[in-house]
């Protein structure tokens, strides 16, 4: 389904802390329901391209949750303030306006679209990259797809979004396993340690791995899945000025040479469509 043509002004409904990150929500009265893995281009209506001239370009942010609200949708976004754009988004106040374009890009395919006969899904998220997996997890769980969710964080400060993976009782969903490099939660080490252990099981080849996170983690997931012959779908990130194929900034090398445009050819790519997830274009 196409995105509504052009950008539209949406109102901030809420902005709350979630661990070391922020979750803000927007009321979107026009857009179609996004698929997990899709993203929006976002820019605050005020304080964007203002003093100092930055942030200037809108920021591409994956949608973490979408639910009917009033006469439209309430969209939730998980953000970590790492630069002028995300800092400004972290400071959004309820009632403020945000320019929004989207939903853009492709979403995660259903397990059986990715792998005929797939028996389940393994979701692997790292850091702020857990966001699109939250919406994916909810959709798969509602359809009764057998699931495992592996989430990794660097340390307490660089973690958050877990409330997006909670059931109605407020507890973390039982299928979620955590890893942290500092050991503050779950397995001490990398989330890919958990994935490697899981992929050594007999039934791993019938699962589809869905992943989003920092480049080094995504590359480790891509390699693990390639080595074990497991289907993978990776949500990548890239510098992006426009989100709709105009700027050609979000180039990702293809294995056979040439480049993909992540905004219109992704952001979700099959593991075999990616040569290497390198920090150079993340």
């Amino acid at each position: 389904m196409s995105a509504p043509y052009g950008r539209r002004l949406c109102e901030v409904a809420e902005n709350r802390a979630s661990g070391g990150y922020r979750i803000f929500s927007l009321d979107d009265r026009e857009g179609p329901e996004p698929a997990a893995g899709q993203f929006y281009m976002l820019a605050a209506a005020d304080g964007w391209a203002a003093e100092g001239g930055r942030p200037f370009l809108p920021r591409a942010i994956s949608v973490a949750e979408a639910a009917p609200a009033g006469d439209g949708l309430r969209l939730e976004f998980l953000v970590d303030g790492v630069g002028p754009g995300t800092d400004r988004l972290c400071r959004l106040q309820p009632g403020e306006g945000v320019w929004l374009t989207g939903p853009l890009g492709n979403g995660f395919p259903a397990p059986r679209e990715a792998l005929p006969g797939a028996a389940g899904a393994i979701l692997v998220g790292g850091g702020i990259g857990v966001a699109p997996l939250a919406l994916l997890r909810r959709g798969l769980a509602e359809r009764g797809v057998p699931l495992r969710v592996l989430l990794g964080f660097r340390d307490r400060e660089h973690s958050g979004g877990l409330d997006l993976f909670c059931g109605s009782g407020g507890d973390l969903c039982p299928e979620v396993r955590l890893a942290s490099e500092d050991g503050h939660a779950g397995h001490r080490g990398y989330v890919t340690d958990l994935l490697a252990a899981m992929l050594s099981g007999d039934d791993a080849a019938s699962a589809v791995v869905y992943s989003c996170g920092p480049p080094a983690m995504l590359e480790a997931v891509r390699r693990l899945c390639a080595e074990r012959g497991v289907a993978s779908r990776l949500a990548l990130e890239s510098p992006m000025a426009c989100g709709f194929g105009a700027c050609f900034g979000c180039a990702v090398p293809k294995p056979g040479g040439g480049y993909l445009r992540l905004c219109v050819d992704g952001p979700v790519l099959a593991g075999e469509e990616v040569e290497e997830v390198a920090a150079a274009y993340a």
Binding site: G6, A49, G53, R54, L57, G245, A246, P253, A280
Partner: protein, 298 residues
Amino acid sequence: MPDFCGIQLAHRVINASGTYDALAARRVFGDALLEDFPFAAFVSKTITPEPRAGNEPRRIWETPAGMLNSIGLPNKGLDGFLAEDLPLLAELPVPLIVSVMATSREQFARLVAAVAEREEVAAIELNVSCPNVHSGLIVGEQPAETEALATALRPLTEKPLIVKLTPNVADPAAVAVGAEQGGADAVSLINTLKGGALDPASGGPALAAGHGGLSGPAVRPVALHQLRAVSAAVSIPRIGMGGIASGADAAEFVAFGASLVAVGTESFRDPRAGSRVAAELEGNLPGGVEVPALLDLE
């Protein structure tokens, strides 16, 4: 209704080459794009004789009120463009201007001849100023080279030939005069300014190519000054661009001698910026502006 070199346009706002992929935008936004197409004419991305993959990432970098890019002219090459893209671009509701670039006069001639004979094409823009490709700098930096190129290409078509000027020269007006004397029908300016930035994370250049072209509101005063100088030097029409984000910005370019204006980087921030700028420029929006009288450019 503006007349540009004999082409009737619905308004005065077009796109800067390489800043809008109408085919990708149509896939993203659907046919709503065609019902309110943002530009009065569509300028294609630059076509080269052979296909190009473009530059290695990282390709873009945000700067104060602007951005650097080093995209590297990815395109399907002449044959791919004519076979695959041109029929789809012909479905756009506006006249089509095709941008071409080559590294020799002979290759430029091949492109112009092949593109001009297609009835879908209303005009041709000669990219002699792309700062990412060495050949562009050489021709567009030299008034004599620019004149010689225009002179060589002029007999190949009766369709308007537009020379896109580079701002990275001491005297852009002299290059514009070369284009006019060679028989060009119009000039467009400015292309991006050469620029660079340091990536604090790596301690090296922010872009893989080492440098790029600066665009956005940061370049607007440079563009206006160069437009004014060019407008005073030539009598052929000028297409003005460089950081236009509103009708008020566009009106400044009209006052400095632009027949048409182009929107580039602002389309990245607002996919319908072209329509908005046009409506503001023609006074059709609350934020509309008076179209100013042409300044005394002498």
